[in-house]
């Protein structure tokens, strides 16, 4: 990723994939911890507005989706989008002016198709 950034700089092309994935990973971890520990409202507060609206009675329903906290693994950030592996889960996030918010969680890969997620915007 760093090599990519250097090439970008040399070519005067900026805005490539950011190496600073930690804030996104922290948000994903906080979201899953909140959902796994019964703090539904805190979890819902970390969803994007559209994702939160997609879940009826979010603070309650988010707790029944089987979301689990785990070790943060690979984090990929491109522009204002991020994907974070947490335990066996994959979380997708979007960056807002106020920080990262979860747009999809509880995601499982499907061959040749987008991830299928428990909650998604």
């Amino acid at each position: 990723m760093r090599a990519t950034a250097v090439v970008c700089l040399l070519l005067l092309v900026t805005g490539c994939a950011s190496a600073g994935g930690d804030p996104a990973a922290r948000t994903a971890a906080r979201f899953l911890s909140a959902a796994a520990q019964g703090r539904g409202q805190q979890a819902c507060d970390l969803l994007t507005p559209r994702a939160a609206e997609s879940v009826d009675d979010c603070a309650t329903e988010i707790l029944s989706m089987g979301l689990r906290a785990g070790a943060v693994g690979d984090t990929q950030v491109y522009g204002d989008e991020a994907q974070v592996r947490v335990g066996g889960d994959t979380v997708f996030l979007h960056r807002f002016p106020g920080g990262w918010r979860v747009r999809a969680a509880g995601c499982r890969p499907r061959s040749g198709q987008p991830y299928e997620c428990e909650v998604e915007a």
Partner: protein, 224 residues
């Protein structure tokens, strides 16, 4: 000052047009980008964030590479191929790199010739191909920039669609990359072919890109 502007008016005009167009592209591109962001439930970004984004980078670089490829190929191919009657071409029989006398190099160089035209050796070889080399280098760098910015923009789009990002090697063999590339190349090649062929039969009075209005269609271009 006024004399300097007048002597360089052509270059300055196109540089100004370039900057105005680039500024316009940044504003219209930002509007389109934010429209899509909001439609997908995201947040709009600032102009500064947009012009330093991979989305803007790939849109700029993909056009640059095709333009420089166009001129690079035209510079090289017109050494060897001709179009009878076109002011964009040498005449039949003149194909090739031409003699040292024709090119005013080595002992045929004039007093006002560039120093490397008289120098001989590697300096003469390098200077003899410097235009094509620089245009070709800019093409390669622009194409590389397109691929680097392109994969970042493409991966952001894939993530927004809840898909895994792909690496650079996958991207440069993808339909997305070649669609962006070839849609630019085809338009450049069509424009060049049109210019070469139409300039045989059509005229623009006063333009050095045209034959004189009264010149015959198929005849050699006078003074060439």
């Amino acid at each position: 000052m006024r004399r300097a502007i007048r002597d360089n008016a052509l270059g300055l005009c196109f540089l100004l047009l370039f900057l105005l167009s680039l500024a316009g592209q940044s504003v219209s591109g930002l509007a389109a980008f934010n429209e899509e962001q909001v439609a997908q439930g995201g947040a709009p970004i600032s102009w500064a964030a947009y012009v330093t984004s991979s989305d803007f980078g790939v849109d700029v670089a993909e056009n640059w590479q095709s333009e420089y490829l166009q001129f690079f190929l035209y510079i090289l191919i017109t050494v060897w191929l001709v179009q009878r009657g076109s002011p964009e071409s040498k005449e039949p029989g003149e194909e090739g790199q031409e003699s040292d006398a024709d090119q005013k190099v080595g002992r045929h160089a004039g007093a006002d010739s560039p120093a490397w035209a008289r120098a001989g050796g590697w300096r003469l070889t390098l200077f003899s191909h410097s235009l094509g080399a620089v245009m070709g280098l800019i093409f390669v760098l622009s194409w590389l920039a397109q691929s680097v910015a392109g994969v970042a923009a493409y991966d952001a789009e894939r993530l927004s669609r809840l898909e895994d990002p792909v690496g650079w090697t996958t991207y440069v063999t993808s339909a997305e990359f070649w669609n962006r590339t070839l849609q630019n190349w085809q338009s450049e090649f069509l424009a060049v072919a049109s210019m070469v062929l139409l300039a045989v039969f059509l005229r623009e009075r006063g333009s050095p890109q045209s034959k004189k209005v009264g010149d015959p269609h198929a005849a050699p271009v006078p003074g060439r």
